[in-house]
Subunit: 184 residues, 2 copies
Amino acid sequence: MKYCSQCGDTVSHIVPEGDNRPRYVCTSCKTIHYQNPKVVAGCLPFFEDKVLLCKRAIAPRKGYWTLPAGYLENGETTSQGALRETIEEANANVELLDLYTLFSLPHISQIYLFYRARLTDLDFFPGEETLETRLFSEHEIPWNELAFPVITETLEHYFQDLPKNHFPIRSQDIVIDRKRHPIK
Amino acid sequence: MKYCSQCGDTVSHIVPEGDNRPRYVCTSCKTIHYQNPKVVAGCLPFFEDKVLLCKRAIAPRKGYWTLPAGYLENGETTSQGALRETIEEANANVELLDLYTLFSLPHISQIYLFYRARLTDLDFFPGEETLETRLFSEHEIPWNELAFPVITETLEHYFQDLPKNHFPIRSQDIVIDRKRHPIK
């Protein structure tokens, strides 16, 4: 951030009075520009003992498999965002069930939320950001070709919980030192 | 938003190519400025059958009672944010337990998360944004002087769950038409 979005003058990166963190503050109109984590909402769509994965058509992790998910938009509930992304990325018709996983990723300031979602038909097909959509049973999951740690974790929890048919909410933090583990 | 934070030129509010929502887009450098919901993280601090509430010293809802909570900061996990706010607003020492309530407030583009938190001592006292900190048993809760619907909902769930000592995660949407219900 270099310029104030309110008045167009320059900003400085300083700790405002009464605060304890540096913020971008306008040198002219004094507006404080707060920056906060973003929420990513998505679904774990399933049919019988299989789950629906999407092969990414875009960076990052193009060509790797993911669950349908994306940034929550202003004016949306988390479940509305999860449903919208499932339609946008996989054109999948689902019945949304309970929240299943919640991840904090402080190194990239993101909060992920995945809902379990029952596929109501098998008429899914790739959206614009997806190369391929496919159902996978547990032994077919391409564990080495999953796009992000939150996908691996969610699928591991799911196939651990599936035999018991009991899906408690899993809340966890994923901390990655990006200097040592750059994401290609 | 009136000016581009990258180059300082003006922005227009248009639907970018390949998108389906209006965004602020720079007329000069073409940067798209996405705006997304914010996360508020907080605690429900308890001691025996009582809960800790804070009387707000700041707007909005100055003088009304709330649970310690505030905007999640970049680089934080949701539980770190909940703990930080509990210290900032109530100087309360707690042991963080499970996530308890999750609210979507699409009319103000906020996501609230509350954790149950056991007070490890009773040495709490008001922080700068708090007028008073006090423990309340169920019959003492000032139901008509609670600051926000998410506080009322979280406390109602809690006192409903307390006799069973079983606290399942409660996820819900709170939709308010602000034109009809202005917050004073």
